[in-house]
Symmetry: C2
Subunit: 490 residues, 2 copies
């Protein structure tokens, strides 16, 4: 196979990079840290978008669009927010280029300097809350439940395709509420939506939890998250939902008249997931042969490859395949028939394994005679010969089985590397093996900081549904209210 991958065991990081490139998902661009998302990678993003968008709308949200640019002064209005983002901003300072006086190329026109610099949005709380000020007067204007699909820019120093890029695509929900309880309920509701999406569509089991203060979103009172575990034992934050309290309403002076005619600041949430999810998808399921895509997000779920000796055979096979394709499509299954004559079947098999197509069907002259097909599963790499009788129902069932199997495999893996650790000495040994470590912690940022410095592990979250037996901190011996999850993370 021409497109051989580095194996995961040899070098997991290289395996990931190889896979993203060779499966045609994305590549680095001429612009430092910015990626080109190639058609196959973008098709996965479109699947993610479609499902999430449907889930957002079913929970009462609408889409809108806010400006790409944020006036510099807006960033300063929320003290913690500015600390979080000022150091990684793309700053627009001019609005025109001119021919260079030396005749060589273009230079910035000094006459076209902006009065106030504009920041390319790293996130949109500030511009959106400045807008909401005009939309909200009374409790009757609440809640506002807006989402936006957009690109954002954070000037990252070390980037990796999908996982950490200077520009990335995401959705950001920004909601406004009359009460603290409503805003908190919304924050938790969207965490559930993310968890449900991750598990049912991405087939990635996630732990729902709360971030420690160190890992909290800049400007939030509380950050809820879903944490996933990759095959190399490192954690990946797959989505966050922030309870913002009245911080942004205060920063942008957004008040409303409540039912009792009292003026109060508006309560807020924000929540987002990004193209980073594609990185999580790749790293959760794929193997040394390439991608393994869950059927619920695969750009096409079934590929059909004909094996033939001559045009006549191909014509006969194609006719039968067209019947099968129509039946599969009637069940809502997406199918690609690859009758490209320039490539041999073996090449195609390797290619679709690399691209993670869940099911491969092969039809040859013998199959045509016998009324059968060869069915190959990507997840288990097993093959069997199946009758064409009710093939659409068989494939439909198989896709569901694959979806469940992929999830279960990830769940079993996580279970196998999740364990309780009770002393810091033990922790230092165990953290080298990867996985989720359930440990008692005294609740202080200092202890978390020390663990991070000494072991590169962070608190991924304080689990919402974890064991709440109290204990003593593995580092300081001080009281701990419950175990939290430590891991090294992407």
């Amino acid at each position: 196979m021409a497109k051989e991958l580095t194996s995961r065991e040899e070098n997991y990081s290289q395996w990931y990079n190889d896979l993203v490139i060779k499966a045609d998902l994305a590549e680095n661009s001429a612009v430092r840290g910015c990626m080109v998302i190639k058609p196959y990678g973008y098709a996965i993003w479109e699947k993610i978008q479609a499902e999430l968008d449907r889930m957002f709308k079913e929970t009462g949200h609408v889409n809108a669009y806010f400006p790409l640019f944020i006036p510099k002064s807006f960033l300063s209005k929320e003290a913690e927010h500015v600390d979080g983002f000022a150091k990684e901003c793309a700053v627009v300072t001019h609005h025109r280029l001119m021919a260079s006086p030396d005749g060589k190329g273009l230079v910035v026109d000094p006459e076209a300097k902006l009065e106030e610099e504009l920041i390319v949005r790293p996130t949109s709380e500030t511009i959106i809350w400045n807008t909401y000020k005009g939309w909200i007067q009374s409790y009757r204007d609440l809640p506002i439940l807006c989402n936006q699909w957009a690109n954002v820019v954070r000037w990252e120093m070390r980037t990796r395709l999908f996982l950490r890029t200077t520009e990335f695509l995401w959705q950001e929900g920004h909601t406004a509420h009359a009460t603290e309880a409503d805003a908190l309920e919304e924050t938790k509701k969207m965490l559930e939506v993310y968890a449900d999406f991750a598990e049912r569509f991405m087939a990635i089991p996630v732990i729902k939890g709360i971030k420690s203060a160190n890992e909290r979103f800049a400007g939030a009172l509380e950050t809820f998250c879903i944490e996933a575990l990759m095959q190399d034992g490192k954690a990946l934050q797959a989505g966050t939902s922030h309870f913002l309290g009245q911080n942004f309403a205060k920063a942008f002076d957004v008040t409303f008249m409540d039912k009792s005619n009292k003026l109060d600041y508006v309560w807020a949430s924000s929540w987002g997931v990004s193209t980073r999810l594609i990185g999580a998808l790749i790293m959760s399921h794929s193997d040394d042969n390439g991608l393994v895509l869950p059927p619920n997000l695969a750009p096409f779920q079934v590929v059909i490859v004909p094996i033939y000796k001559n045009e006549e055979q191909l014509a006969a096979i194609s006719e039968k395949v067209n019947e099968i394709t129509a039946k599969l499509r009637s069940m809502g299954i997406s199918v690609k028939f690859d009758n490209n004559d320039n490539k041999k079947p073996g090449w195609k098999f390797a290619e679709y394994e690399l691209k993670g197509v869940p099911v491969r069907l092969v039809m040859g002259a013998r199959d045509l005679e016998n009324g059968t097909l060869e069915v190959a599963r990507r997840d288990t790499m097993t093959k069997e010969t199946v009758s064409l009788q009710n093939i659409e129902r068989y494939i439909s069932g198989l896709l569901k089985e694959i979806q469940i199997n992929i999830f279960q495999k990830a769940l079993d893996y996580r279970a196998s590397v999740t364990r309780e650790v009770n002393s810091y000495d033990e922790f230092k040994v165990e953290i080298e093996k990867g996985g989720f470590l359930l440990c008692h912690w005294d609740g202080t940022p200092e202890t978390e900081e020390r663990v991070k410095e000494e072991t590169k592990a962070t608190i991924r979250c304080i689990p919402l549904n974890g064991d709440t037996t109290p204990g003593t901190c593995m580092v300081t011996g001080k009281p701990s209210v419950q175990r939290v999850i430590f891991a090294r993370a992407y």
Copy 2:
């Protein structure tokens, strides 16, 4: 009515601005020239996107995503392209902010100056052709048929919501081909897609044509366009499809080995439509009562308003309405039931007229008794009482009728203000009345420039299906091969 609009006759421009704001489509943001697209406006854009995306995919295109930023040096590589865009670029010069030394707010960190400035994309030919260089070696790699949905920035001095904004949303198709004929065929094919979309979905009749050299896209050999006519007699360019020849392939050195093993430059097309279409949609059909939306693009096609005296009546009506709603939805019709108790029916009627909902159904106690509904059409503002028997088929037919009626009205209007003009004196009188003027022109940029300076009219296009009888230029008396369309334009 609280939300009264300026009438079109009184001040067409003000009517447009009022309507965009009052129908909750969009508003100006804190960032000069950038708009906030509000949920109702964005819902129209989502409808536009969904249909166009389907049409692109049916014609063999795939989506991808390319970086927001373009290195400054890329712009200079295609000589005409740089002339067209350098003067209206948002330029990123730094990647970090820092606390101001005087303690007041943030300043750009001088240490974080970029080696090479980045331009926020005004269009993506340069970054995409730089990428295609890595994708194309042989004729087997062609064609490439990519589209991207994205935001772009052009630093416009005078902006108007939807029609001309500094940032706007659009799609841009960028295709690569082995032959001139293939690239030209693609260019024309996408023009047909745009025309078909404009007429069947937006209900806007368009003239397909070619731009004169003055109006051509910067870097194209030929620009094809669809031109629409607004109710005030001004033209609006609704979409363009560019034949780029080998210009960008040469600028970025993109060559391929053809079937005969010869190296040649790749041929290109690019094509785009933007949120400007929403401006065209508004100005084509709407009236002094508000928006008139074609059913094929309305966020909801039917609104149902109950009229009731008490809770009991509302409950009985709601039960019936739920049945009707289910039937309508089964026909693919989108419905909103507005049982909001805070607003009176009269307020709701005005509100949905303002928002251009194609059909309003009203059910009161009498209707419930009689098994009827009041059906009001937004396009004609007529009302009738209709039996509930087969109501879903009636409404489905009515929506189709409205779609056709809106298109026909726009077509009739255009016909009424399109006329042949044979002398420049006559032209100067007629251009004041608006509309499309079919005139002979000598084919020179100088003559077009003179007409523009003296009358503010431009050549909208050389129609593809126009009368090709030759004549003499209305300005210079020189020979003309066919009549072209002059108009004042947005």
